[in-house]
Amino acid sequence: MYVNETYLPSGEQELAALIAQAAGEKLPLEICGNRTKRNIGRPLQTATRVSTGQMRGITLYEPTELVLSAKAGTPLAEIEALLEKNNQELAFEPCHLDQLSGGEQQGGATIGGVFAVNASGPRRVLRGSARDHLIGVRAVNGMGEIVKSGGRVMKNVTGYDLARGIAGSWGTLAVLTEVTMKVLPKAEDTRSLLFLNLPDEGAVNAMCRAMGSPFEVSGTVHLPASFVERLSMPDIAKLGQPVTALRIENFASSLDYRTGRLHEALQPFGAIYELDDARSRAFWRDIRNLTFLTGSDWPLWRISTAPDKGAKLVSALKAQLECTAAYEWSGGLIWVEVPPATDSGAAVLRRIIAEFGADAMLVRANATSRAAIDVFQPLPEVNMGLIRRLKEAFDPQRILSPGRMYAGI
């Protein structure tokens, strides 16, 4: 194979042959779709690239069986447009990480990329993650073998669940060639409840209270004033104060009742403002697109924690590190922006989150910083041992995006 070349195989067999050849030559490859997330993760040292971008097309869609299959390079936008026509959607509402870090925008995110990084958005807190909705894959492992796992039916415990195991592995275990996912009907109507100026602790309490209600709250977010300014809805962006929002989605006939009951339950937290269907959709589009995090090149961390610890964790962080924090997923997902620093704040941040049993990933930082520190959460040695052996089981020559997640893997 040629070094410094981008290979764009048109099909699975061609891809498998390429990978087999690279394995024979022990030639490391950058595995990608349209490279929209190329600036996330550890910088790759590979000169040769294999993209699934030309492997496109929806291969199966059965709306009444709630299932869709597509080749890995199919643009997410194409899939969402087809689902929209049938009043369906990807319930995990993939978040647009690609907007964050100056990746390439040509062609947009691919469905393979969505599952390779397990990109889940606001609705994840109610309906589950991308990997939860992934029911089958075809993939090429690091030896150039075509492997399938799962299938096209919702329930399947036949053999090990390699499909979900590959999800979130950033192309380092296998190259996805086709993914099959569960889809769901789109809600008929949407409404949002907004609080202004809640302190973090109060906002997390309100979000937890809402999630513990029977009303199927499908999105929760708490933004600091400086992030609110970045939203695209002008009247909200101009509020100049923290905004906490809760979303409910259902049949129109249910929403009056459900918002009413939530009003009652959440009255103690402060005055509540409502967004109607159209304005709700616009607001949550911003949250899903991570608009509140764009327009800055400061280092950005994504922290995963138990929701009830979220506000305490941030307060501990703020005592030692200048930072701005936003919360999603009832307080369990925290986005933390820090001023530029050699280690992007890693030393302090990782020491503090360890006390909370949380997990942190550096989502945005310059390449020097991403090469110097652990981008993904460092793991105990016993876990690392498993991960090394797992890599070996899929990609013994370590040619699939080596080092993207962990050095040497």
Binding site: G165, G212, P214, T305, Q377, L390
Partner: protein
């Protein structure tokens, strides 16, 4: 059904039985070990009762550290280990081996932590499935996966098999409801996967372990997602002249954007047996019955059932009945949930667990009827219609070896049909020994080899739950290659 081959026990291990038992006694308190024959006999089989194997010994530890000590000794001594929850596996997943110890988790059944704000519960894995829901019921929370055996089956077993249940159409199966695990590896290492948070960065090993049928490690603790109860729930019943009409009705409901919390299907033979058992008010003159449950407030339930009623009208239902009371709802579900038991009262049965795409329902049911007629066997069909998970119950006489053999053959043909129709061998029961040899109908050699390499990541010496999941020949060939 004595047709399934059992992995040959290792004579060297059998010969060292008393030394092994004595060594185990130094690792855990004596009361944790069952060594006499009568005691061990209680563990010789699971819910696939046609197969029995007397284990070397049974260890019932009470802490993760004890599990770790036992496994590290077994690792050193080369002794195989079969993990066991409540032994309710229908596929022989918990079947012991003569040269293996059974490691039972029934004594590790404590609730360790409940956190309603973050909506999780941390438990030891010997707790029953229903035990989890019951422990949070006073706070109006529940644990979603609800296999029919939930009164007896353990969370550890649910994790091993990635169990589902009637309500997973809306809430997902075990893998969708587990946040974290503590697991003891075969070498005694204790590893924690996930935690109390969602979606950690890095590789996600949870889905590899969940559903691995006890072949990767012994899970001793689990952090499970709990959910707030809906305000109310109510089933309705719809009876049709044909299974085709029932299947089309399910599709139409989903096409209208309604995903009920459960859609269960029974055919005429199943309806009759369950009605005689539970007196649920099932109609006896229909070919197919749907039980559809929706959730919400009183008004929301009435609205949703009204919509479903209108949709069903196009398919000329012969019977439409909404539950009018808690008692009626309970009776409707009792009939469905007791179906296996009710059929067990009239005959031995062999329960299948194939999955099909819903659009292939008619083909699947007529195929099943043909297969069973060919083998001169009766069949009753129960299935989770929302997700295409079929449970044909093949009736046979366990004391008639010929009929047993025919039932097993019919089962194989039915599962092969499911795969041919685009489905899979098992939706929630697992592979175990029962469907092990059929794996090659769904997967080719490359697929199976990749799975076996993942098994080796966690258990390089293949000591955990031996002789299950993969075709025996494929296992032997793989091990011969790597050794």
């Amino acid at each position: 059904m004595a047709g399934i081959a059992i992995l040959k026990p290792r004579a060297d291990i059998l010969g060292k039985r008393s030394a092994i038992v004595n060594a185990l006694k130094k690792l855990v308190p004596a009361r944790c070990i069952v060594e006499d024959e009568a005691g061990r006999r209680a563990f010789e089989t699971d819910a696939l009762t046609a197969y029995k194997q007397m284990p070397l010994a049974v260890v019932l530890p009470t802490t993760t550290e004890e599990v770790s000590r036992v496994l590290s000794f077994c690792h050193l001594a080369g002794v195989r280990v079969v993990a066991r929850g409540a032994g309710t596996s229908l596929c022989g997943g918990a079947l012991p081996a003569e040269d293996a110890i059974v490691l039972g988790l029934s004594r590790m059944n404590r609730v360790l932590e409940v956190n309603l704000e973050s909506r999780y519960i941390r438990v030891e894995t010997g707790i029953t499935n229903l035990g989890v829901s019951r422990s949070v019921a006073p706070t109006n929370f529940f644990y979603a996966p609800d296999p029919s055996s939930q009164l007896a089956c353990t969370i550890g077993g649910n994790i091993a098999m990635n169990s589902g249940g009637a309500h997973c159409l809306k809430y997902g199966v075990t893998v969708n409801n587990v946040l974290g695990l503590k697991m003891v590896m075969m070498n005694g290492d204790i590893v924690e996967l996930g935690g109390t948070h969602l979606d950690a960065s890095g590789y996600d090993l949870l889905p590899l372990v969940i559903g691995s049928e006890g072949q990767m490690g012994i899970v001793t603790e689990a952090t499970l997602r709990i959910l707030r109860n809906a305000e109310g729930a109510r089933p309705m019943m719809l009876g049709f002249d044909s299974s085709e009409a029932a299947g089309a009705c399910v599709s139409a409901i989903i096409a209208q954007g309604i995903v009920p919390v459960a859609i269960e299907f029974m055919d005429k033979p199943a309806i009759k047996v369950c009605e005689e058992f539970a007196h649920a008010g099932y109609p006896l003159d229909v070919e197919a019955l749907l039980i559809i449950e929706v959730e919400g407030s009183e008004a929301e339930i009435a609205n949703l059932l009204g919509q479903i009623d209108r949709i069903a009208w196009d398919f000329a239902p012969k019977f439409v009945k909404r539950s009018e009371s808690e008692a009626e709802s309970a009776a409707i579900w009792k009939g469905r949930k007791a179906a296996f038991g009710a059929i067990g009262r009239i005959s031995d049965y062999y329960c299948m667990d194939g999955v099909i795409p819903l659009s292939k329902l008619t083909q699947a049911l007529s195929g099943i009827a043909e297969i069973c007629a060919k083998h001169r066997l009766q069949v009753a069909n129960i299935f989770h219609a929302g997700d295409g998970n079929l449970h044909p119950l093949i009736l046979y006489n366990a004391n008639d070896p010929d009929e047993k053999a025919r039932a097993e053959l019919a089962g194989e043909e039915i599962l092969t049909l499911c795969v041919e129709l685009g489905g899979c061998l098992t939706g929630e029961h697992g592979v175990g020994i029962e469907k092990r040899e059929l794996m090659s109908t769904q997967f080719n050699d490359v697929d199976i080899a990749q799975q076996m390499r993942v098994k080796s990541v966690f258990d390089p010496d293949w000591l955990l739950n031996p002789g299950k999941v993969f075709p025996l020949k494929a296992q032997e060939a793989f091990l011969a290659r790597v050794r």
